[in-house]
Symmetry: C2
Subunit: 376 residues, 2 copies
């Protein structure tokens, strides 16, 4: 039992508005978590992040275990204190990046042996080691280590890795102390797997729920499947999850995908898209996307988004921002990052308000039509 | 006559504490101006800059005339409005960068023909064009175009370029309207030249003073000469300049060089050192310099400088800053830039206070001894 960690405050169809409460403060859902891979959301200070409306930051265990190392982070007071982030944090298990960035030597029931992408050093990631590292990092929400099949995968391989992930979850649960090395409460989320096979997804969901976890993530999506395939998985999984626990769709994503997922009962998201796009001068606005290198912006005195109240839109013209981008100035990346994160945070706030007012379906439909119409 | 632009408020020996008053606000002297080459001080927002204690920003005419172009800057409201800098600004003439970055085709009495380092486009910089561009950029202080000899230069060549610079000054004075394209008062500074030849320097100074300008710069230093050579020039020039006008030593520099120059009556400085060093992880502190890549900082929980009150020192440990640097994170550059600029601004504040309290000589001596002792 974990009363008080998550509360559903309102619903509109399957969409929910809720509240996460951690030892590092609260966060309203639907929630977009900014990705802070190496102990910083790239290009912005923690104050700029908070002012942009971001309430939860995600840290990557894989990157942090390799540099500066979990022990150094712990010596520096844990991830919150080190990075001066005064809000909730979540760390992933390290598994996904091992599979996507490291050079894998072997994956066995024990865990995953790999070489660091930084210096080739041999490392081992097991459920126990992932928990030990996340315990030292000290995030409020920690993720189980899961086994991820290389794609495309056969049904048998998908089923095997899904079931191994459940066994690893049990080892994670047994290994994780209730509190971080800094003495703060940590909650373990399990991860639903099973590829695009709805039966395997359902089996995974039932097994996860039987373990009564503080929250449930849906993994293995946003890896090249169609929107219909993603929605089919969400439609099969979310009804099986307990209504009182938070649901986190990992690595998603595009604003329209998040809105559809909220409509199917998802509460939490993370994605590098707003920050990575900003560093490549692609901007999200309420009137569609902008490529800031486009010469049409060169002498434009207007803001990126007339409906936006972020620091960037309140102070700087498109023309100046384009100049900074064309000149390769760091400030350009910083200012576009602030804007894109604010756009994501504001979108979640609008979705929340629509849920609270019982009109989520209309909101979602209107928003998608409007952006699709203007982006052409 | 230009009453009210500059006021000497206190002296201590030859050192002065003063006040610059412009249409964009005031700035106390001694003053360090941050270099904002391309319309931004690299890596920081205007708010971070102001919070770091910076009061005046310098823009580079050469870079801005090529990109985004003076007309675009003017369309975006001028340099202040475009970059949201709510304080005084100074622009240089463009000449120095033409000589150091552009490919020069010819230098004649008319001006300097060169090719852009960006795209090879042929451009011409004359005294009149420099004034036209600076008029559009709209800085509060604009610099005359001067002719800069390639080094080493013969006495004859040094004398020729110094005298040509005086003729160009007269053309600048005739060409510059009293107000910027944005309707704000602009003041033209002349530049003392003459290399290391004290007679030529004196001739230049007397000719400049005869033109009764709002302020006087000392150029052509910090180009490889010894400290003694620089001090000899300052010792020859500053006594010839009128006490009621500001004196600006261009491109200097190191904290110790600035302190010595203040002791000889200089009021204003600019240099890329604090910002460029920050981007190369070199930090200025009241206990000497720090190389932040050094492994000794890896698990250090202390601030960069225990005497510093900047945003970086108030919030972040050396260990975290080193991690950001080692990981190549933009935030590391931003935070070190904030600290180094604050260090420079604070140093100017301490110098000012010492002048006001009539103890500049002691202050300067103590500071130099202390930093030299600890840096070893």
């Amino acid at each position: 039992m974990d009363e008080g960690f998550f509360t559903v405050q309102a619903t509109s169809g399957a969409a929910r508005a809720g509240l996460l409460a951690t030892d590092h403060g609260q966060a309203e859902t639907p929630l977009f978590m900014a990705v802070g891979t190496q102990g910083t959301v790239k290009g912005v200070t923690p104050d700029q992040l908070r002012d942009a409306g971001i309430r939860v930051v995600l840290g990557n265990t894989y990157h942090l275990m390799l540099r500066p190392g979990a022990d150094v982070v712990n010596q520096l007071g844990g991830l919150h204190h080190m990075a001066r982030w005064q809000g909730p944090m979540l760390t992933d298990s390290g598994g996904f990046q091992v599979f996507s960035m490291g050079e894998i030597n072997s994956v066995t029931e024990q865990g995953c042996a790999f070489k660091s992408h930084l210096d080739g050093r041999e490392e081992m990631l097991t459920p126990e080691r992932s928990m030990e590292i996340q315990h030292k990092l000290g995030a409020d929400i920690v993720m189980q280590l899961d086994d991820v099949p290389a794609l495309p995968a056969t049904r048998e391989r998908t089923a095997d890795t899904m079931r191994r992930s459940l066994r690893w979850l049990d080892r994670c649960k047994a290994a994780l102390p209730t509190h971080s090395a800094q003495g703060m409460r940590q909650r373990l989320f399990g991860i639903n797997q099973g590829g695009l096979d709805l039966e395997l997804r359902a089996e995974s969901a039932r097994e996860l729920v039987a373990r009564d976890l503080p929250g449930y993530a849906i993994g293995g999506l946003s890896v090249g499947e169609t929107k219909d395939q993603m929605n089919a998985v969400l439609g099969a999984v979310t009804p099986l999850l307990p209504p009182g626990k938070p649901r986190y769709l990992m690595g998603v994503g595009f604003p329209e995908d998040m809105l559809e997922a909220i409509g199917m009962g998802v509460d939490m998201f993370d994605c590098v898209l707003p920050t990575r796009c900003a560093r490549h001068s692609l901007v999200f606005t309420s009137a569609g996307r902008l490529r800031m290198k486009n010469a049409m912006h060169a002498a434009s005195t207007g803001p990126l988004d007339t409906e936006c109240g972020c620091y960037t839109c309140a102070n700087f013209s498109r023309g100046y921002l384009r100049h900074l981008i064309m000149a390769g100035e760091i400030l350009g990346m910083t200012l576009l990052t602030i804007h894109n994160l604010h756009f994501y945070a504001r979108l979640m706030g609008l979705a929340r308000q629509a849920v609270q007012e019982g009109r989520y379906g209309d909101f979602c439909r209107d928003w998608l039509q409007r952006v699709t119409a203007k982006a052409t």
